[in-house]
Amino acid sequence: MAEQEKTPLVDIRHLKKYFNISTGMFSSKPLKAVDDVSFTIKKGETLGLVGESGCGKTTVGRTILQLYKPTGGEIIYDGKPVRTAKDLAAFRTKATMVFQDPYSSLNPRMTVADIIAEPLDVHNLCKTKEERRERVLQLMDYVGLNSEHASRYAHEFSGGQRQRIGIARSLAVNPEFIVCDEPVSALDVSIQAQVINMFDELQDKLGLTYLFIAHDLLVVRHISDRIAVMYLGKMVELAEARDIYDHPLHPYSKSLISSVPVPDPKVARANQRIVLKGDIPSPLNAPSGCPFRTRCQYATDACAQSMPEFKEVKPGHFVACHRTEEIN
């Protein structure tokens, strides 16, 4: 795509988010949920963000929208840094979020129309009631909901339809960029495909840019142009979706991709899985140096000494591993 050569729409530089966890009555310790993560997303692109629970992928999404105040780093949107409260208010009319759980992210006491219109009310985007109503119906049409659903309450809908309501709400302010935090993981397989296709169609129709956070690698691979892999708050690999899926370079990505159960018995039986030993360490006691070294079969002493640099090893393919050349 030619437009991908332009300046990035979203430019995240050295993003950090530490949470203070109390370890006693007067002591606390920083939990480095996101530690020095940098990436860019071009206009119209979908960047998939994968990793296991606790790796910080959701925190990245929330910190970008400043639902959490970043501990460090900079968020540059469309060439302008988001720093002051005024910047943030403007940023939030261009960047929105779709949440994972369609059951808890919708207010049970509001009608569908009011849920979808809430961002319009907050940002004062509609002058008249008539305008508001029309906009709500248009949004409902975008996501495949009938107009008679407008006066109903969220509990009257199935999981898939609730997720449609959540998506309509995120589209209300006419955003350019949407952070999708595990938007299909709570849905059944047959419904999941409907929602994935809708994300695709909306992107084509409205020219949206997505940060698509998920743990299901097959879904992420399907929807993303590029994929970033996170482990314990650090980004370990970033590349074109097909490139990373077919030729992962980081030992963690290799294992993660080989662990995905392939829905094809012959392939699954022949598949050589790289099964990792042990569990993900607690982010409170992250290992020194490379965070993955405790589970890595290639780890050497050097890996304990320093965190490997996140560098471009071939065009568009970034890896943070000391031994990339030796093990590939």
Partner: protein
């Protein structure tokens, strides 16, 4: 004789809104040492089928018809006394959520020993040794230390290992695994699936694997049952179900999952939403969402027909295509092992 024979099982829940037929005429046979996968979406009746076999249904649930035979012994109506000798000893179950299936107020060791002493006549010391041995079997490092710890000190994968150790402590003939890896991360899921596979080979037990993940069944199962709205759409060997699906619902499921084959293409989702079990239609329950539905599909439910020795499906499209031999789950004489 087959290890487990389920025939025309009907289980309903009696709620304020009316009778909910969660399982509608399920029949299958499980042979010794085989891995059977039951796939379906939420509400398809896959878990209720398993809970019916164990008879651990909620108070409102009841088996209203059919037969479940374990080693020739009828379990439906056998009474709680008989079921107590079956549960844990002959059939064990592990649940989806390892976080809530262990008691947070007792140590892991206490709970393991309790389970072992309940089902065998080992004394405290022997039970302790058995518990340590089982933890070692499921690859828990330093089992003596782990025995003294509480569930919250264990990670999700570790807790699921403890659950597996507990389920296998009495060497059951059948292990029912109800979405055992759904709550776990993929790398931990790979560890648990590999563990289950190697234990199954080592101990020679049969496994009923309940899951919504077609990838998991492809990796683990010899035979597969696909369920929709409480009934079986299709059953057969893994290769038959994946490479020769004969029910429109199974075909739809295969098309709707992202894979290497439909790379860059649009997914083809199944339209509509799953059916309400309170208002089951007279015809095929999948007909309202089916693109190939014919008039007969709306009018009449299709019985399971035999496709070949390893495969049966309940879809009128097959009848139209000339498959009209009724499927006989007892038909062991023609080599059928579905």
């Amino acid at each position: 004789m087959s290890l487990l024979e389920v025939r025309d099982l009907h289980t309903s829940f009696f709620t304020d809104a009316g009778e909910v037929p969660a399982v509608n005429g399920v029949s299958f046979t499980l042979e010794r040492g085989k891995v059977l996968g039951i796939v379906g979406e939420s509400g398809s009746g896959k878990s209720v089928t398993a809970y019916s076999i164990m008879q651990i249904l909620a108070d409102t649930g009841k088996i209203v018809g059919g037969s479940i035979k374990l080693d020739g012994q009828e379990l439906v109506g056998a009474g709680e006394k008989v079921m107590r000798t079956v549960r844990g000893n002959k059939i064990s179950i592990i649940f989806q959520d390892p976080m809530t299936s262990l008691n947070p107020t007792y140590t892991v060791g206490h709970q393991l020993i309790e389970a072992i002493r309940l089902h065998t006549n080992r004394d405290q010391k022997q039970a302790y040794e058995r518990a340590v041995e089982m933890l070692r079997l499921v690859n828990v490092n330093d089992p003596e230390k782990r025995m003294k710890q509480y569930p919250h000190e264990h990670s999700g994968g570790m807790r699921q290992r403890v659950m597996i150790a507990m389920a296998l402590a009495c060497e059951p003939d059948i292990l029912i695994a109800d979405e055992p890896t759904t709550a776990l991360d993929v790398t931990i899921q790979a560890q648990i699936l590999e563990l289950m596979q190697s234990l199954q080979k080592e101990l020679g037990m049969a496994i009923i694997m309940i899951t919504h993940d077609l990838g998991v069944v492809a990796q683990l199962c010899d035979e597969i049952i696909v369920m929709y709205a409480g009934g079986i759409c299709e059953q057969g060997t893994a290769d038959e179900i994946f490479y020769n699906p004969r029910h429109e619902y199974t075909k739809g499921l295969m098309r709707s999952i992202p894979s290497v084959d439909n790379d860059g293409e649009k997914l083809q989702p199944i339209t509509g939403t799953p059916i309400d079990l309170l208002n089951l239609p007279a015809g095929c329950p999948f007909a309202p969402r089916c693109d190939s539905a014919m008039k007969i599909c709306i009018r009449e439910k299709c019985a399971s027909v035999r496709i070949n020795d390893d495969h049966a499906a309940a879809c009128w499209v097959n009848v139209k295509d000339g498959f009209n031999e009724a499927y006989d789950p007892d038909g062991t004489d023609n080599g059928e092992e579905v």
